[in-house]
């Protein structure tokens, strides 16, 4: 056989076809594949590598979450107070309304897209394992949520250090908030992905996630407040767990000693243990559900 130079037909310009070359380089293993899927999904969660349109919502929310932090730092600097107004833990709580929007808009991008457009066939016919797909997608989305939550905290902390606020106070406020945000990202990402994985149509996924998160949060907080009003603190504590946000905040308070903006929160050690157990159960349940869900995905 001789070298062909016919690859480019005249109407497509001249492209010199040097013929097919076999790939002789390395083929990397499972870890590489999972890492590559993780990186691609994380970029996808913020619309990177996708159209400009798909960047608007995630990037917009990212900025909306971070801007108030920058303003708070400015206010602190101008007013010369010795602490960040509101502190670290309550920052996430105050901007809580934005988080379900991010979860609802981006969880379908991370998982439902592959189901809806049947891209799963292309993954499943490769060495990638189903469980590894779930792991990579979950890790990527949890990281995306964590980035959303932690960026304003980092701005606040960096601002506080620049303003030379007392380091001890700052670090003891920052670390529990950081730990809480890790927990938030893990729990919220698991819930959102679970819902998105059963609603391949993007619109349904968005609606379902917003509904579940906001309804549960509202119901949880209201029930907790009503019970607290009647002085039944234990009951109030238990009712608070209806809200996924309150559950994580409860653990954050109990384990890391963060301020709790909830009406009651976990009551005593028993309450703390229950909150922690519920958080662990939610995580395990959602992740287990995802694993089972992807066992059932067929190649066609």
């Amino acid at each position: 056989m001789t070298t062909t130079t016919s690859g480019g037909t005249s109407d497509r310009g001249v492209i010199h076809d040097i013929g097919y070359r076999h790939y002789t380089g390395p083929r990397l293993g499972r870890r590489h594949i999972v890492t590559a899927l993780y990186a691609d999904s994380l970029r996808g969660a913020y619309g990177l590598g996708r159209s400009a349109k798909s960047k608007i919502i995630p990037m917009g929310l990212f900025v909306l979450m971070a801007v108030p932090a920058a303003i708070l730092v400015l206010v602190t600097a101008v007013s010369k107070v010795t602490e960040i107004p509101g502190g670290y833990t309550s920052y996430t709580f105050k901007l809580q309304a934005l988080i379900p929007v991010f979860l609802a808009a981006q969880a379908p991008v991370v998982v439902a897209r592959d189901l809806r457009f049947r891209v799963m066939s292309l993954y499943l016919s490769r060495p990638l394992r189903r469980d590894d797909y779930v792991l990579a997608k979950y890790a990527a989305f949890a990281t995306a949520v964590f980035a959303l939550l932690v960026t304003p905290l980092l701005i606040l902390f960096a601002g506080a250090l620049l303003l030379k606020l007392p380091f001890g106070e700052q670090i003891s406020g920052f670390l529990p908030a950081l730990a809480g945000d890790i927990l938030f990202a893990l729990v919220l990402a698991a819930i959102a992905l679970m819902i998105a994985s059963v609603t391949p149509r993007r619109g349904f996924g968005v609606a379902a996630i917003v509904t579940v998160l906001t309804v549960m949060t509202t119901v949880g907080l209201s029930a907790e407040a009503i019970a607290a009003e009647h002085g039944s603190w234990t009951l109030a504590g238990h009712l608070g767990m209806i809200s996924p946000f309150s559950v994580v905040q409860g653990v954050q308070t109990w384990l890391f000693g963060a301020d709790n903006p909830a009406p009651a929160g976990p009551q005593g050690t028993a309450g703390g243990l229950i909150y922690t157990a519920v958080t662990a159960a939610v995580l395990a349940g959602c992740y287990g559900f995802l694993l089972l869900r992807y066992r059932k995905v067929s190649v066609s």
Binding site: M1, T2, T3, G7, R12, I15, D17, G19, Y20, R21, H22, Y23, T24, G25, P26, R27, L28, G29, H32, I33, A36, L37, D40, G49, R50, S51, S54, R113, D114, F117, R118, V119, S121, L122, Y123, L124, S125, R126, P127, L128, R129, S298, V299, S300
Partner: protein
């Protein structure tokens, strides 16, 4: 001359330096199935299927619902069989699915492309999902997309592609990691005649120029006849035929001739000369009986003083497998 890698049809046979995933040698079996059966509830999709195919371009032919896609999924190691066994590249589909999927490429029948990414982005990503390092994935994706005939448009989102372009992207993702064997499920589906021809040419190139074995399924026999070395025909999940294309389309013992005038008189003359002759439209089919047959035809044509338009050895058509009609003599056998 090209380097050995591209001149050898089955590169595993040559002394080429190979990556961790070896290309098959000529002696390796491409796929075998032993009494392979798959039932879905009461429906039997595959029934007692036993075939043995060597590397090359293999056509899998059957009507819709004959069990082609079921067989492909079993060969990918993604669907367990109800009973029986199968191997792909000498790997057991039941226990070595992951090893098989490292060595093969798969092009699904259905649409499977996300509309919001470009062909380049998608193919690079899928190359990495097959274990290629980032740089290699980018190079291979660009090369493969060019080989399947996608040029500048590969940077645009797939959502705006025509069916023909989508099929090319699907083929490119199956080839990007340089598999030893690609399984193409109905690759010509939904294409217009020109697109169909281009896709078949591509498949032929994958087999001959790229040296990659191909299993290509279709419900159209005629189109696979042109590109395949071996044909497997299944009907209602059962094997109807498995043979090499050369055997199926071998030259038959029949000559076809056409003259410009007085065809019927010629037929009469040939019959007089003791030749078994059948008139099929304008074509005269004469059963070949030694070299003397040619002389008699020549004499008859000269005697009538007509012009001989065509005289050729007829070949069998694969369509005969289905219809039972023997086109070489123009009669049912």
């Amino acid at each position: 001359m090209l380097p050995e890698a591209t001149t050898s049809r089955y590169p595993g046979a040559g002394p080429r330096l190979l990556g961790p995933v070896r290309h098959y040698a000529r002696s390796v079996s491409l796929l075998t199935t032993r009494s392979l059966t798959r039932r879905f509830g009461t429906v039997t999709a595959l029934s007692d299927l036993s075939v043995d195919v060597s590397p090359g371009v293999v056509g899998l032919i059957g009507a819709n619902g004959a069990g082609k896609s079921t067989l492909i999924k079993i060969l990918l190691g993604l669907l367990p069989s109800t009973s029986g066994s199968a191997t792909v590249l000498d790997l057991d589909v039941a226990t070595q699915g992951e090893a098989i999927r490292e060595r093969i490429g798969y092009m699904p029948e259905h649409d499977c492309l996300p509309p919001d990414t470009s062909a380049t982005e998608l193919v690079v990503h899928l190359a990495r999902m097959s274990g290629l390092p980032a740089t290699a994935a980018r190079e291979r994706a660009a090369d493969t997309l060019r080989h399947v005939g996608l040029y500048e448009e590969r940077y645009r989102p797939i959502g705006g592609y025509s069916t023909g372009m989508r099929q090319r992207v699907k083929l490119a993702q199956a080839l990007v990691h340089d598999p030893a064997f690609v399984l193409l499920d109905e690759p010509t589906n939904g294409l217009d005649p020109a697109g169909r021809d281009e896709m078949l040419d591509l498949i032929r190139r994958v087999g001959s120029e790229f040296g990659i074995s191909v299993l290509v399924s279709s419900h159209l026999l005629g189109e696979l006849e042109r590109v395949c070395d071996h044909i497997v025909v299944i009907e209602n999940g059962r094997l109807t035929r498995s043979s090499s294309t050369a055997a199926v389309t071998a030259a038959s013992g029949v000559l076809a001739l056409e003259v410009d005038d007085r065809t019927e008189e010629l037929v009469a003359l040939l019959r007089e000369a003791g030749l078994h002759t059948v008139l099929d439209g304008r074509t005269v089919a004469v059963t070949l009986d030694g070299d003397l047959t040619y002389d008699r035809i020549r004499d008859a044509v000269v005697r009538l003083g007509v012009g001989l338009v065509r005289l050729e050895h007829r070949r069998h058509h694969m369509t005969e497998l289905f219809t039972g009609k023997n086109y070489s003599t123009g009669s049912r056998t």
